[in-house]
Amino acid sequence: MGQPGSVPSADDPLRLDADEADAIAELFNIGMGEAAAGLSSMLGEEVHLSVPSFAVSTRARITSEVGDELDGEQPVCAVRGAFTGPFTGEAMLIFPERGTLALVGRLVPVDPAAEAPGEMEQDALTEIGNIILNGCLASLSNLIGGELSGAVPGYGAGAPAAVIGSGTDPVLFVRIDMALAAGDASGHALFLLDIASLDAFREAIRRALAGL
């Protein structure tokens, strides 16, 4: 369940104990699982998911952590959207350019000589992002018994720092890696939750636990 060291201790002002961190990861595990099953049936291919990791982090740190794995300064393609409800934040799906072309190539014909996604490929990735991110948020809404509404996710591309940001304010960070079984498309689903909504989030988790 993530890196044990990344969970804030009880005397941290953010005060998420191990049980709460465990619950958050499990809720996202369920939400992403349902969303990935939807994507898998659309692609006709197995979609692998990692176990969710959960941490209190900053956009700058996430950029460096995720950017390193995505080949540093290489541009990445992202689908991202804000969500609001019992808690607020931003959801994003990030793939490197090559992985994006491989992924959307399952849905639309892709020019083999293409280096970067064109308009049609961007649209296809946006649709995939929509399925994954809104699918996950919908499952989470059901689990916490409150509506999380996501904006229609939009496409963006650039260096990881431009996409994820470089702010140093604390954010709650849930990360799930996903990959197609063929191994040619690996990316990340990231959920950045505003710390300001931490209390609302904790309350929502309690309700979810009580309802399960």
């Binding site: 369940m1 191990a18 049980d19 465990d22 619950a23 990861a25 499990e26 595990n29 369920i30 939400g31 992403m32 699982g33 349902e34 990935a36 099953a37 898998s40 049936s41 291919e45 197995e46 979609v47 998911l49 990692s50 176990v51 499952s139 689990l143 079984a181 636990l209 399960l212």
Partner: protein, 119 residues
């Protein structure tokens, strides 16, 4: 002693499955583990009546664990816990004779699984 093995990396999920089983079968011993590796070690050689294992875990996944458990205990009923019911996974699970238990866990789903397992 009648025992059932529950393996999930999430403590929340382990507690939920355990509390449902405890209410349905109060006399059973519930053996829990947080990983496939731990599950294989802790279960030993005495066959449980059934096993309920999570699919998405660090290290050994639930399907690999199910395969190892089936080698050790022929005919052991196993339920695979996941919200991620993909066709490929479904086929692999069926080939192993493993049933799905869709997350989120409810009392009805565990009851159905135990009934199907002849328990």
């Amino acid at each position: 002693m009648t025992s059932i093995l529950v393996v999930d990396d999430s403590r929340l999920a382990r507690n939920m499955v355990s509390s449902v089983i405890a209410s349905l079968r109060p006399d059973w011993t519930i053996v829990t583990a947080a990983s496939g590796e731990e599950g294989l070690e802790i279960v030993g050689e005495v066959p449980p009546v059934a096993a309920i294992v999570d699919y998405n875990m660090p290290g050994m996944d639930g399907l690999a664990l199910a395969e190892r458990l089936k080698e050790r205990f022929v005919g052991l009923p196993i339920g695979l816990l996941t919200a991620n019911v993909q066709d490929t996974l479904r086929r692999k699970a069926e080939a192993l004779g493993v049933r799905f238990i869709a997350k989120p866990i409810t009392s009805d789903k565990i009851r159905d699984f135990l009934a199907a397992a002849g328990q």
